[in-house]
Structure formats: C-alpha cells, structure tokens
Amino acid sequence: MSKGQWRSKASNKVILERALMLKNIRAFFDGKDVLEVETPLLSQFATTDPHLESLQSCFREQDCYLNTSPEYAMKRLLADSQQAIYQICKAFRDDELGVNHNPEFTMLEWYQPGYDDQQLMAELAELVTVLFGEANKEPVFITKSYQQVFEDSIGFNPHEVSAAQCYSLSLEKNIEIPQGLSADDDVNDWLDWLLTQKVLPSLASDCFTFIFDYPVAQCALAKIGANEQQVAVAKRFELFFGEMELANGFYELTDAEEQLSRFQLDNNVRIESGAAPKAIDENFIAALEHGLPECAGVAVGLDRLLMVKTACTHIEQVLIFPWQNS
C-alpha cells in the first residue's frame, strides 16, 4: 500500500460537480413526471450477455449476482405499472478496468412508455443540454446511422460486410489486427474492433455523437426494424462524446418469445467460447409475457459523463475511491 492510499482520488471540484449533476438529473425527471425507483443490485440471476460477466456473491450458500445494469428489474416494474421510471444506481461488471472502466460504476437508466428510439434520443440530448448548457454555449449533437459512420470513416457498409472482408481490408489499410481475431471470427467482433480503432477516432472530438440503427446481430434487447434502405437493423442507439461511449438505448423488445430465444442464443455463444451458460431470468420473461408497454429505454454512464463535464481523462479522477483503493 502506498502512502495516501486512503485519500480521495477525486478533487473537491469533481465531488461537487457530481453532487450537482445528480441534483440536476433528479430535477429534470421530476419536471417530466418520471418516477424515481430502486430495484435490487443483488439478483438471483446473472446476465446471459456473452460480452458481460456478472460479479458473483453468495447469500446463505446460494449463488447470487451483482447487477450489470438494472434493466431486467426495471422492465418487470414497467410491465406492472406501465409508468415512466428512472433509476440512479451502481452497476458492476467483472474484468472491466481501464481508462474508461471501473468494475463498479454509476448508471442512470430510464424508460419512457410510448417513446421510440428517436424520441428517447431527443430526450437524452435534452438532458445532456441541461447538464452541460452554459450561457451562449450549448452542446453540439451529431446524429448518424451505424452504416453512415462506417461508410464515412472506412468506406464500407457494415450490414453487408463479412469477417473475411474485414480481415483483408485491415491488411490492405494497415489497420492493426488484435491477437486472437481472425477471418473465421464473427463479423460483429470485427465490427466492434473497427468501430473502436477507426470509426470512433474519426468522430468530432468536441461534440456528442449519436449512432443509431445497429446491425441486427448487435440488437441485445432492442426491437428489429428497417432502416431507410429497407434493410433490417436493430433499433438501438449509443451516445458518444468524442470517442468515449456514454449511453446505450433501445426501442425495447417486447416479444417474450423472441427475448427468450435471444437469451438461449447468448448461452450458446457462451458455451461455444468455453464460458459457462447462465440461468435465464424467468421473472423477466414472465413480465414480458404479461406485457411490456411499447417503450424506449436508455442507460447512461454517469462517471463518464462527469469525465466529459470536468475534462478528466481517466475514470479514476472522477471516482472518490476507484477500485485500486476501494
């Protein structure tokens, strides 16, 4: 242990900015009649998402898991109450540590019945403007489809490309190829890599950018719809500032059967990659069977939003006690 390990990593200014941000968020939702709720951080079910690992705990010898987001529980409530809700809570993810990652982080998540993805993007922009708006200096938002950001920066249509094409294009354009990524891999792993390596660095560094209409295979919990070219896309969006991801939202899937089969597919991917399958949250599926209202929902990483607000370059600078000295 080095000296000073007990002290806060965040400056007083950052601690005050966080308190102000939380206050402003609550005022924003209060003004819109969106109800603040609390759902369990500790759940009997883990996420099946093959790219997320839940942290595991134990209660009276029964395995339980810290939530990777409050999504399932909030949707269960939504199916019951049919009312707009928001939550500010901690979320936990195993193996996520770095410049923009801490294993425990603060998430804002909200759901608006009757909204689609475009309407919720507009509301998120409104919230960000409230949080960032200063006299004479409103934040700038750019909105582009997933297809467009790839066409603009790499010059191909991500909905039509194959892993083999991504591989040869990377060789041709001298793009680094990570160890373990090959032409036989899922094309979505390649798209994730090229997004990180080429697309995001090409976004305007001092603006907020919405990316929407994701490839179908990256739908997660979003509805599948059609884009302007009548190609099937996932009604999912993400918000970035520069190249840092801040938020992920969906025009929410309400079909219980489809949701169940996506979870089963997740588990198949897990088994193929040598990871353990996870029990499917039957309460969540039952809620969808009961009926989730047509709605859109979004999760926002508040620590990262605070990094943008306070011009911090490492997530540790906005956390009072980051993982290393938690």
């Binding site: 996520e96 373990g180 997004l195 991801e245």
Partner: protein, 187 residues
C-alpha cells in the same frame, strides 16, 4: 506451457511477445459499447528495453515468461563473462556481454545490481541508479572559468566517457546517474 488469460493482465506481468520476454507496463480494456472487449497493452521488451504496443481480443491466452529478479553483487569480469554473486547464498552467476549490456559502463566491482533471469539464465543486468567512480583522465580545468553549464569530457576508471563541469580534476570521485549517464556531483 504456462499461459495467462487477458483477464489476468496487470502491470509487471511477464509474458512472451514475438519470442522475447516482456513486462506489461500498461493494460487497458477497450469496449465499444456492448460488444467484444479488447485489451490494449504496452509491454517493455526485457531484452532490448523497447516498448511494444499490442492488442488482444479479450479472453485470449498469452504465453507466460518465466522471469525472476534477484539482487546480486558484481565480482569481476574474465573478459568473456561478468561474474555476479547472490550475497545471501554466495551462489555465483555468469552473465555474457549481451546480458550485461550498458551496465558494463558503470560497474567496477562490489556494486549491488539487479539480475533479471529468463528461464534461469541471466537476461539483463541493471546497475544501481547511482554509482561512484574515479576520474582516470580529464584535461585540467581553466582557473577562474566559472561559466555556468560549461562542460568537458572526462574518462572514468571504467573507461566510460562522461561530460563533467570544468572544475573536475583527475582522481576526483564522481557520483553518476546510470539511467541517464550524467554526472550528478562530486562524491
């Protein structure tokens, strides 16, 4: 073959990259939203000192490097090998010219060095950060020359040439920073 998965990566972990032992100096998880994660790693090649940048698809495995470090005292050189001893066990290790590398410029005997071993064989010798060495040869300083920052070359007893202030004379003992190769003060 021992391996490490990317989720075991941390600073100081020794892995094999391009056939050489390397020490991780930076490990950052990057993830573009909900998808596949990647580890962006900076690692120092322990043979050459060069820093490499590498990216791994998360959950990839990488070969572990069997690297140890120990404190040793420099004894002598027979021209082909440099001989070091573990002070506690008196066990001796011979390092070749490649392993000794630049350390040869700063050691004359009895210095406490760090020996890095790879698969049990000496890989790198790191001399103490500061050494004290006598000046074997230098031109006389000009009396009364007090110009700030002016230097002249001086050859140390190990044969290494360093830049020293004009007032330094032959036989003076100098404190040298081995990391920069620069004169610090008279000892």
């Amino acid at each position: 073959m021992a391996t490490y998965s990317t989720n075991q990566f941390k600073n100081g972990l020794k892995i094999i990259l391009d056939g050489d032992p390397c020490s991780i100096t930076e490990n950052n998880v990057v993830k573009p939203g909900k998808g596949q994660a990647f580890n962006k790693v900076k690692a120092k090649n322990l043979k050459t000192g060069r820093v490499l940048e590498r990216t791994f698809k998360s959950t990839e495995s990488v070969e572990a490097a069997d690297v140890d470090e120990m404190n040793v005292e420099y004894l002598y050189s027979d021209g082909e090998y440099w001989h070091f001893m573990e002070p506690a066990s008196f066990e001796q290790h011979a390092a070749d010219k490649v392993a000794v590398g630049d350390a040869v410029k700063w050691i004359k005997g009895q210095e406490l060095c760090v020996m890095t071993l790879w698969n049990g064989a000496p890989l790198v010798i790191t001399p103490p950060n500061f050494v004290e060495l006598a000046v074997a040869q230098t031109d006389p300083g000009l009396k009364g020359d007090t110009a700030q920052g002016a230097t002249k070359p001086a050859t140390l007893e190990t044969g290494t040439e360093v830049k020293v202030p004009l007032f330094i004379n032959e036989g003076d003992i100098l404190k040298i920073d081995t990391r920069t190769g620069e004169y610090v003060s008279r000892a």
